[in-house]
Symmetry: C2
C-alpha cells in the first residue's frame, strides 16, 4: 500500500507529493527539518522537537507555517494514519516555490511536508554489533545548531566514512576537539564522568543528547558539557554517539584504533536501558517495544 | 505563455516539472548547478561552465548524467526554444528521489533540470548605479569550489546585506582577507595592479573571473592572484565583483565606508568594455546587445 504523507495541508499519497523544480528547498536548500522518534505510535519528546523546529526557523529568518499546536496535530494524524509499528516522523518546511533569486522573497508560500518513516532494521543491528567511526576536520558552516536541509557536507562525510569501512564520521574542531557526528552527538565516559561538547554553533542541540544528560545524572554519573579531544576519546573507557533514530550507538573503534577493550561498556548499556525507561515513561508506555 | 523547461530528458511546461519530496536535492541539498549567460541567444563560455559542472560532480562523488556533448545540445535546444532575448541558462542535477538515508545510494536516477531564465533588469540598473557591500566572517563550508545547491549560508548572508542596505556581502577569511561575494568573485585595483584571491577551497572558480583576468592583462594591467585584506580593499583605487549574471558590479561602498572617491573607476569601465568585446568575439557576435 502506498505511503500517505502530509503535504501542504492535506494527507495524500507519497507519489503525488511533488514540489516545483523552483522550490527554494530544491534550488537553495532554503529549508529546515525535524525527525521525531515514535515508540509504539507515541511520538517521543514532541514538544522539544517542535520547539527546536521553531528556533531553527528563527535562525533562518523564517516564520514557521502553522502554530505548534497545529504541528502537534499533524504529527498525531500521521501516527494514526500509518500502519508502521516503529517509525520516525519526518517534518520539512522550505520557503516554497519562487522565481530563482538569492534574495529571500518578501512574500512566499512555504512548502510543508511530513511523513512517517520506518525505523531501519539496521539501527537495531548496529546496537548489537557495535560501530566504527572515522574522524575528519570540521569544514561545515558555522550555524550547525540550525537543523537545515543543507546537508551535503554531512552526506559527503558519511560517504567518506563508508569508503573507509566506518559507520559514522566525527567532526573535529581546532585542537582536535570532538564536536559531533554527521548525524549524532558524541559522548565519552572516563572514570565515572560523562563528557559531551557544550552547546554552540558547531553542534546541533540533540533532543536525545538532553535525555542522555538527564539519564546519566540519574544513574549517578557526573556530567560535564566540555570539549574533549580525539585523543581523550581514544583513551576513554567508553564512547558512544546518540541521535533520534540511532538512540545510542556505541563506538568501539575510531580511525582504526580500538576504544578501550573494543566491547560495549557497562555504562553505555545502563544509559541505554535508562533511556528506554525514560522514553517509555514519557510516552506513557510499559515499554518502548 | 508558460515557460518550457528541460526536465529528465524532455522539454515540458515549467508547471509540470516537479520532483518528489524525497528527491535528494530537496531533503539533502545533494545536487549541483550551473548558470550560463547567453547574449543574443548565444551561450557564452559554455565549455568552461560544463567543465566546471563536471568537476563539481566529481567533487561530490557523482557521475554527471549525460556526456558534455549532450549537455551542449540541451543548452542549444533551450536557447532555440525560448522567446527571451537576454537570458541565462540554469542547469541543475541532483542525486534524485530515494528513501531518505544519508548514505549515497549505490544506484540512483539523477534528476536533471534546465531552463532559460530572463536577465533581471536590475542587473543593468546596478551597473549604472554602483553598489554597496557589507562584509562578514566566512562561515561557509570548506568546499566552496564546488557549485552545489547547498546555498543556505549564501541566502542568509545576502539577506543580512539587504537588511543593512547593501547589495552584496563579502566573505572574510582569517586576517580579514577578502575571499569572494555570496554570488560573485571580488577584485581590487591598486596602482595599476589587479588583485583577486587565488583559486582555493574557499572561492568558486568563476568563469567570469577567468575572463576578467585575461581582459585585464590585455588592457595592460598587471594581474596578481593574491589575497588582500578588507583594509586593502577599502584603500584601493577601484573595487568590483563579478559573476555570470552580474558581469561586473562596481562597489563604491563597503560597510558604510566609501571606496576611493565613491565613483566608478576608469579601469573598471575599461575592463567591462573589454569584457563585452571579448564575449561578443567569443560568441561570434558584433556586439553583446
Amino acid at each position: 500500500m502506498e505511503k500517505t504523507v502530509f503535504f501542504n495541508g492535506k494527507l495524500i499519497p507519497l507519489s503525488q507529493a511533488k514540489v516545483s523544480v523552483l522550490d527554494r528547498g530544491f534550488v537553495f536548500a532554503d529549508g529546515l527539518y525535524e525527525v521525531i522518534r515514535c515508540y509504539r505510535k507515541k511520538p517521543f519528546a514532541l514538544d522539544g522537537h517542535l520547539q527546536r523546529f521553531k528556533r531553527s526557523a528563527e535562525g533562518i529568518y523564517m516564520e514557521l507555517p502553522y502554530g505548534l499546536d497545529r504541528w502537534r496535530e499533524i504529527c498525531y494524524e500521521l501516527c494514526e494514519e500509518t500502519d508502521l509499528g516503529q517509525f520516525s516522523l519526518y517534518l520539512q518546511v522550505t520557503r516554497g516555490p519562487a522565481p530563482r533569486d538569492h534574495r529571500i522573497p518578501e512574500q512566499y508560500e512555504p512548502t510543508v511536508f511530513a511523513y512517517a518513516d520506518p525505523v531501519s532494521p539496521e539501527m537495531e543491528y548496529r546496537w548489537e554489533n557495535l560501530s566504527k567511526a572515522m574522524t575528519l576536520k570540521d569544514g561545515r558552516w558555522d550555524r550547525c545548531h540550525i537543523k537545515s536541509v543543507a546537508l551535503l557536507p554531512n552526506i559527503l562525510a558519511r560517504d567518506e566514512a563508508r569508503r573507509k569501512g566506518a559507520d559514522e564520521a566525527l567532526w573535529l574542531g581546532p585542537g582536535q576537539v570532538v564536536y559531533e557526528g554527521t548525524a549524532s552527538n558524541a559522548f565519552m565516559i572516563e572514570e565515572g564522568v560523562l563528557y559531551t561538547h557544550p552547546l554552540c554553533n558547531k553542534i546541533l542541540g540533540g533532543i536525545t543528547r538532553e535525555v542522555i544528560l538527564k539519564v546519566a545524572a540519574e544513574l549517578g554519573l557526573e556530567v560535564r558539557q566540555e570539549g574533549k579531544t580525539i585523543q581523550d576519546f581514544l583513551a576513554a573507557d567508553e564512547v558512544f554517539v546518540t541521535g533520534t533514530k540511532r538512540e545510542i550507538m556505541p563506538l568501539v573503534e575510531i580511525d582504526g584504533q580500538a576504544v578501550s577493550d573494543g566491547k560495549m561498556g557497562e555504562w553505555t548499556r545502563k544509559i541505554h536501558e535508562g533511556m528506554m525507561e525514560y522514553i517509555a515513561r514519557d510516552c506513557g508506555l510499559d515499554s518502548c517495544y
